[in-house]
């Protein structure tokens, strides 16, 4: 318990004094994870909506795969992205291994199926409500996708915030493709892992608390968006 109270004090001091290294680490964490979620949403939302709207052979399998991929092990994703981006790999010429860009790629791969699977469920429910009206109006499935994404925007924000939560809390993939290089690819989770292994538990726990606060803030933002939407749009 001593470590824990030390950690709270350390965390408080780190934040109160706005330690430059800490700020840099938090800043990079946010940049990487927000970029990853941005690209994952661009791919994942329409993908989930397409699976919800189109009827095609193997749709059940695609749904099962998306659901299973929600729980992709980060280290496996990290390893796969590492192999792709390593100098000998197919995308080695990009030269982005051990840069924040590689970390964005890894987190994006990790989060896209999560966003797609959650948005499939949301869009499918909404589509069940709209389907008859759509057919009456002559709305094609292709046209239905942006309509449903827009009409489900508040519920879908949950999927995006969940994706952000998974991205920002993830350590296995970014440590492999980023390398946890000080001032270059060091983010909150990799710092926590490093400080823990150095026995610097108070600092590690302090960063953990900051990480929790960030996740909490993201979730509260999601809730308040929905709450507001429910009141305004029913």
């Amino acid at each position: 318990m001593n470590e824990f109270s030390d950690a709270v004090v350390t965390a408080g001091r780190l934040i109160a004094t706005w330690d430059r290294d800490l700020a840099e680490i938090i800043g990079l964490s946010m940049r990487v994870s927000l970029s990853a979620v941005f690209f994952a949403a661009i791919v994942g939302l329409p993908l989930g909506a397409a699976v919800a709207v189109f009827r095609f052979p193997g749709r059940g399998i695609v749904t099962a795969v998306l659901n299973a991929f929600m729980g992709l092990p980060p280290v496996v994703v990290g390893l796969a992205v590492y192999l792709l981006l390593s100098r000998a790999g197919p995308l080695g010429s990009l030269g982005i291994l051990f840069t924040p860009a590689a970390m964005v790629v890894a987190q994006c791969v990790l989060v896209t199926p999560l966003i797609a699977a959650l948005s499939r469920q949301t869009v499918e429910d909404l589509h069940a409500e709209y389907a008859e009206q759509f057919r009456s109006l002559g709305v094609s499935p292709l046209r239905a996708i942006p309509t449903l994404l827009w009409d489900g925007r508040y519920s879908l924000s949950t999927a995006v915030f969940a994706g952000f939560g998974r991205a920002v809390a993830e350590v296995g993939a970014v440590i492999i493709v980023g390398g946890n290089i000080n001032h270059v690819t060091r983010v909150m989770t990799t710092t926590i892992a490093l400080e823990t292994s150095k026995g610097n538990l108070a600092l590690a726990l302090a960063l953990g608390l900051v990480l929790l606060a960030v996740s909490l803030a993201a979730n509260m933002a999601a809730l308040s968006v929905q709450d507001w939407a429910r009141k305004a749009y029913a």
Binding site: E132, S136, L137, G138, Y233, A234
Partner: protein
């Protein structure tokens, strides 16, 4: 181009091993406001959905435009609209609900805003144009759904219990909108539970019982001198099964 008359040739519909629409051969032509009446489960909503093309008949065929009309599916679909008992409204503004339907039909931005505002005006909803559609009252929602359908300028409009569960004032507003659409030249085929509403609006009545057309008559004839025992019992308020 015209898609009317609409002809059902021996149309039947089964679901779950039950014969829900038995065999209906019936024509709907432009002009009279057609009221489809019958007890719960008689097949009123199913009949409208079969006509509108939301359901495929198990037997028989739905034909548009008479012999040799040579209409394609798009022409047929675009000549129709339907308003449901529970209006399905998009989670956007009242105006955007109408312009969306017009955008699907390929209207340009300016034209659809103008047409949408005009349609809202006709049902007395222009003042609500900027409000979110989902927070409207039941009657306002239904008038919006009617405005959306009207904006599409259909030749034929199907209305499935458009005023169910509304208070008298809201019912009145919905009925006024329906009458307005009919006066403007759209063929209307509607169902209702409300015999008073049927008397107020109907020009002719199609009476269904167990998925069959039991009686088809001018409204005055139907209400005063029904010829079938089923319709007679229905009008007296007896339970039919």
């Amino acid at each position: 181009m015209t898609v009317l008359p609409l002809h059902l040739n021996g149309v039947g519909y089964d679901a779950g091993g039950k014969r829900l629409i038995d065999e209906i051969s019936h024509g709907f032509d432009r002009g009279p406001l057609t009221m489809v009446l019958g007890a719960n489960g008689a097949g009123k909503s199913l009949l409208l959905r079969l006509c509108h093309g939301l359901l495929k008949p198990t037997r028989g065929a739905v034909r548009w435009g008479g012999n040799g009309a040579g209409l394609n599916d798009t022409q047929i679909r675009r000549a129709q609209a339907m308003v449901f008992q529970q209006p399905v409204l998009l989670r956007r503004s009242v105006l955007a609900n109408v312009t969306y339907a017009l955008a699907v039909r390929g209207l340009g931005r300016k034209a659809r805003t103008a047409a949408a505002l005009a349609a809202l005006e006709r049902v007395g909803m222009a003042g609500h144009a900027a409000r979110p559609a989902r927070v409207l009252s039941g009657g306002e929602k239904q008038r919006l759904a009617l405005a959306r359908a009207w904006a599409l300028e259909p030749e034929i409009l199907f209305l499935d219990e458009p005023a169910a569960n509304l208070d008298p004032a809201a019912t009145r507003a919905v009925e006024d909108a329906i009458a307005g659409i009919h006066r403007a030249g759209t063929k209307i085929v509607m169902t209702t539970h409300d015999l008073g509403q049927a008397r107020r609006l109907a020009d002719e009545v199609v009476f269904l019982h167990h998925g069959r057309v039991v009686e088809h008559a001018a409204a005055s004839t139907f209400f005063d001198q029904p010829t079938s025992p089923e319709a007679d019992a229905f009008l007296k308020g007896e339970l039919l099964w």
